[in-house]
């Protein structure tokens, strides 16, 4: 059986939610395996993070080097190639860091790469059976991964229940001396914080959110009319920001704002996992979409199959009549 590892993301001493989700995934793949956490950083809270994870993982490998004072995927890739045994299975969260690191790592390790896994069906010999989604979540696929020469597996954050058993009790081993040369041709400069917009949607109790179904910039007005009638704020999904129809500060999703309203109206939004990742606090979700197969209907409380360009003005009028 191959050795199995999980890459732990952490920031200022706080471990990312994915850390214990990956542990659950590791145990699903190899139920009897000892699972090792790999934790890279530079001084500061690194020992605290390692000790926290040792309670859950069977072993912790610490890498303490100035190159990892900021999580740099290019340097991490070089280090991992040097410290991972051949044929290892490595799990990472499928977020911006893992997307930067993993594809190239699988090439350097000459192992299989399975991106954005949403479920594990099981292992048969060297074939790991997993489930992925394609076409913006409209269909799922059974995927077979040949792990005979190892695998790098990026796991979608938030879909596996975290393993909170704290049944690890592992030792922390310092692997810093084994990472080799981690000089890279890419240099981190700074993080530019998102600009604040005219409305802070993270504080809104009711959001009327608009997506690609609005079709044209001029139509966005009908969403503002509805929001005004409801006493709500307007938010949106990514394509509306890409098209520059609304400012970035109104975007709900992993690359935008995380919101926690009481009521969320998703208008013409298909409901990709990146979008839903920005919606917290279990709001009451109303979805209006003309595509009955839109993934949003699987997570919404109430759905209406309709063209928002016709439905929204009618709804606005009826709400105004209540006034």
């Amino acid at each position: 059986m191959a050795d199995i590892f999980a890459y732990i993301e952490h920031n200022q001493g706080v471990v990312d939610d994915s850390a214990l989700e990956l542990l659950a995934v590791a145990k699903k793949i190899f139920p009897d395996a000892a699972v090792t956490a790999i934790i890279m950083g530079s001084g500061g809270d690194l020992d605290k993070v390692c000790n926290d994870m040792a309670a859950s993982y069977n072993a912790v490998w610490k890498v303490d080097n100035a190159a990892f004072s900021f999580p740099d995927a290019e340097a991490a890739r070089k280090a991992l190639v040097n410290i991972l045994p051949g044929d290892s299975v490595l799990l990472l969260p499928h977020a911006h860091f893992g997307m930067d690191l993993s594809p190239g790592l699988s090439v350097k390790l000459d192992s299989a790469y399975a991106p954005d896994i949403v479920d594990i069906e099981g292992l048969e010999g060297n074939t790991l059976k997993v489930i992925r989604q394609e076409f913006a979540g409209q269909v799922s696929a059974h995927v077979h991964v040949d792990i005979s020469s190892g695998a790098v597996i990026n796991v979608r954050p938030g879909v596996f229940a975290a393993d909170e058993s704290k049944a690890g009790g592992g030792e922390v081993a310092d692997k810093t001396g084994d990472i080799g040369d981690v000089a890279v041709k890419r240099k981190y400069l700074e993080t530019v914080q998102a600009e604040a917009g005219e409305v802070d949607i993270t504080k809104s109790e009711v959001l009327v959110s608009v997506g690609r179904g609005i079709e044209e910039e001029d139509n966005v007005e009908i969403v503002f009319d509805l929001a005004e009638a409801m006493g709500a704020d307007v938010s949106c999904s990514r394509p509306i920001v890409d098209a520059k129809w609304l400012e970035k500060s109104r975007q709900v999703g992993t690359s935008g704002q995380t919101v926690k309203p009481k009521v969320y109206m998703a208008l013409g939004i298909s409901g990709s996992f990146q979008h839903m990742g920005g919606l917290k606090g279990n709001p009451f979700i109303v979805a209006v979409n003309k595509n009955p197969k839109a993934p949003i209907f699987q997570v919404a409380d109430v759905g209406v199959e309709a063209d928002i360009l016709e439905f929204v003005p009618e709804l606005t009028e009826k709400i105004q009549e209540l006034g």
Binding site: P103, S106, Q138, K185, Y188, L189, T191, M230, K293
Partner: protein
């Protein structure tokens, strides 16, 4: 600057409802509208804008069959000077690593300072750019949403959580995967496509690219999609039905009850 942009012909998910065929082994492709992968289109626009500023030329490349040529021509109509079609029966069934190996062959045949891919395509894998960079031993940055040319280096921004942006300086040659929203891709009309209709697009197969045919295609793939399915997702939403007045009436009751109306 010589820029290569890797593009893919995909079903347009904004225009289509994706359904599974009766055999369950593929999506129903007969009536699908195909277009260039949305992320790739931003990458081509970015390449053209860079060349407009600093000079050089843009080449678009794809792995596919004759039908993929229309996507190359569409991107050439935007302003890419050259197109390359990488096509061979041996490429059929390649996984991401296979596609990256084929593209690697094309990169080595030319001399490029910068290679762009879309951040992801229809399968959502977001893998080919990073794999290609590793094969070439070039530095890589994914999810790039700004590029600024600074002599022999680039200053790039990566889109990270919460609308924040990590800024990097990266040496060339390098590979970048481009996020949507980095620019506003120009409109391409029928006339533009007609203008490039007769431009010759060279075709390369495995042997032209120096790619070992046994290292690509379905047999070499370590990651294989077995079928498509629609998962059982529990109950899902309560769908409101009836006349539009009835639907709106029920919806308003819900909104009142849940605090959605002030």
């Amino acid at each position: 600057m010589e820029i290569l942009v890797c593009v893919k012909r995909v079903p347009d998910t904004a225009e289509n409802e994706i359904e599974i065929n009766s055999a369950g082994n593929d999506i129903e492709r007969d009536d699908l509208v195909y277009s260039v992968n949305e992320w790739d289109n931003y990458a081509v626009e970015e390449a053209i804008q860079i060349v407009d500023k600093v000079g050089g030329s843009v080449t678009v490349v794809t792995v596919g069959d004759e039908e993929s040529e229309e996507v190359l021509r569409r991107e050439m109509a935007m302003g890419a000077e050259n197109g390359l079609l990488l096509t061979d029966d041996a490429f059929e069934g390649s996984d991401g690593k296979g596609i990256a190996s084929i593209l690697c062959g094309a990169v080595k045949k030319g001399s490029y300072d910068l290679i762009l891919t879309g951040a992801q395509a229809d399968d959502g894998a977001a893998e080919v750019g990073g794999m290609l960079a590793a094969m070439l031993d070039y530095p890589y940055a994914s999810l790039v949403n700004t590029i600024e040319v600074q002599d022999s280096k680039l200053k790039v921004g990566r889109e990270v959580e919460g609308g924040n942006q990590d800024m990097y300086e990266i040496e060339m040659p390098c590979v970048l995967s481009i996020q949507t929203g980095i620019n506003e891709p120009r409109y391409v009309g029928i006339r533009g496509i007609r203008k490039v209709a007769s431009v010759e697009i060279p075709e390369y197969g495995a042997s032209d690219l120096g790619v070992d045919a046994s290292s690509v295609g379905g047999d070499a793939a370590k990651v294989k999609r077995m079928d498509y399915f629609v998962p059982e997702m529990g109950e899902g939403a309560e769908m409101l039905e009836g006349s539009s007045d009835e639907i709106i009436g029920k919806l308003i009751e819900y909104l009142k009850a849940k605090g959605g109306l002030k």
